[in-house]
Structures are given as C-alpha cells and as structure tokens.
C-alpha cells in the first residue's frame, strides 16, 4: 500500500491491499444472484476404496504456470491469463491498480493502493475430480 508523507512505523507497515489473498466460495449461479454452496469443503482428495481410481480433490486447479498457492502473482493487464482457475468457463472480472484515500483509527489521512491491489471474481464451471462443478470464486 502506498502511503504519503511521514508516518509512524505501524502505518508504514500497511500493505493490506497489496497482498494477494485468494478467497473462495462455492456457489450456484442464477441470473442475478450467486448463492453459496459448500464453501468449506475440503480440497483433500478422498482416499480411494476398493481399488477405485483416485480422482483428486474437488477444489479448482491453479493456473499451471502461476503460483499454485493461490496468489496470482501476475498483475492484471491486457493479454494475460486473467483467471486464477484452470479448466474454467464462465463469468470473470478482474481489476488492479487502485488509487484512493482513507482514514485510520487515529485520524490520519492516508493514500492507499498499489499496482498489486488486485481483485477478481470467477463465476461458472470448473473441472476437478473428473467432474464439473458450478461455483463462484473471488480473488482479493
């Protein structure tokens, strides 16, 4: 987070909008609203029983050439992969590079925003565990 002027140590520490944190939500889609589905499902693949095939976990695949820990690590810009999910089709929006002002709980006026203040949503179908899932994910 970009800050202007002289500030305390604590204020200089703020990077909250510069961090990539992936937020996930599984949800069914409707025309105008997205309702939550098993948001807390485990990503761990089930242990196969009776010599069944191991199909992997139900969580989405990351983009293979990007950080598989969930951070996209690639600023949004033209002609790059904007999704954080591989094997995905659906609605997507992405933005980065916010600028604005705000106030902390001590009354200090601070600028916020960096090129990595990066948000997106992905609402549609993804493929995992050998089946399609309808879901919505947010990257914040």
């Amino acid at each position: 987070m970009a800050l202007d002027g002289v500030r305390s140590y604590k204020l200089n520490r703020r990077r909250w909008l510069g961090l990539g944190v992936t937020s996930a939500l599984a949800a069914w889609l409707s025309d105008t609203r997205v309702d939550a589905q098993s948001a807390t499902q485990s990503c761990a693949p089930p242990i196969p029983q009776n010599h069944e095939a191991s199909n992997g976990g139900p969580c989405p695949y990351p983009i293979p050439w990007l950080d598989k820990n969930g951070n996209h690590n690639q600023p949004a810009m033209p002609n790059v992969e904007l999704s954080s999910i591989y094997h995905f089709k659906g609605k997507l929006a992405r933005c980065s590079g916010f600028h604005g002002m705000g106030t902390d709980n001590k009354g200090n006026r601070l600028a916020w925003g960096t090129p990595t203040t990066d948000y997106s949503y992905m609402a549609g179908e993804y493929w995992a565990a050998r089946q399609a899932h309808q879901a919505v994910f947010a990257h914040t």
């Binding site: 520490r13 990077r15 961090l19 996930a24 089709k89 933005c95 902390d104």
Partner: protein, 120 residues
C-alpha cells in the same frame, strides 16, 4: 481462502454492472513482504467492489496457454475497511466513488479443457 455470503456477487439485469461484497475476509498483514522471513499478522478485510462495463470490447487469447477471455473494458471502484486486531489498527477508505482503478475488464473466460470445447 474465505467464504463469501450468499449475496456476495450480484449482477444488474443487463449484466453490465457486477458488485462483489465480502466481510471479515481473513488476510495477512506482512509489511516486509517479499522478504523470506517477513513476519505476518492476521487481519480482516471488508470490501465492496463494483465493476461497470464500458462499450469497448476486448479479446485476449493464447492458444499455447489455452485461454480465451472475451468481454469489455470496465470501470472498477472499491471501498474497504481493514482491521489488524493485534496492532489495534483500522483503516477505512473514502467512499467507493472516490477510488480509481488503472485496469479493469469484465466478460467471459474459457480455459484449459474448455478452451477447445468452446472454440468459436
């Protein structure tokens, strides 16, 4: 990872405006990032993000990387509050209308196994 409330993502009827709203999203405050030993503090984020599509269409496609995005350039505005309880720090942005964004798009994407299947 953070769950989103059931009304977290909404669209206007014409599909040109999308609002993503989440509360108490668990994040980390890591001021010395990207240092390998950068300490972290738990923090929480409330935000409201509004995308509004313009009339300028875009298409980003890469056959080697198997992705295709088709949509529109957009305006994005954000209002947020961040809390770092361990530091007794709270920061609240000004109103959503006062924020600006350098790059934003909204549309439809197909990648991976869906890239070829939906090839138009």
């Amino acid at each position: 990872m953070a769950p989103v409330p059931s009304t977290g993502l909404t669209f206007t009827v014409d599909g040109k405006t999308a609002t993503l709203q989440m509360a108490d999203v668990p994040i980390i405050d890591q001021p010395r990032w990207p240092a390998m030993d950068a300490e972290t503090s738990p923090a929480f984020l409330d935000f409201r993000l509004v995308f509004t599509a313009t009339d300028e269409s875009v298409k980003y496609e890469n056959a080697m990387q198997q992705y295709r995005f088709e949509g529109f350039k957009a305006k994005a505005q954000l209002a947020a509050t961040v809390r770092v309880p361990s530091l007794d720090f709270i920061f609240k942005t000004d109103s959503l209308e006062t924020s600006t964004c350098d790059f934003a798009v909204m549309g439809e994407e197909a990648n991976g196994r869906y890239y070829e299947a939906l090839k138009g």
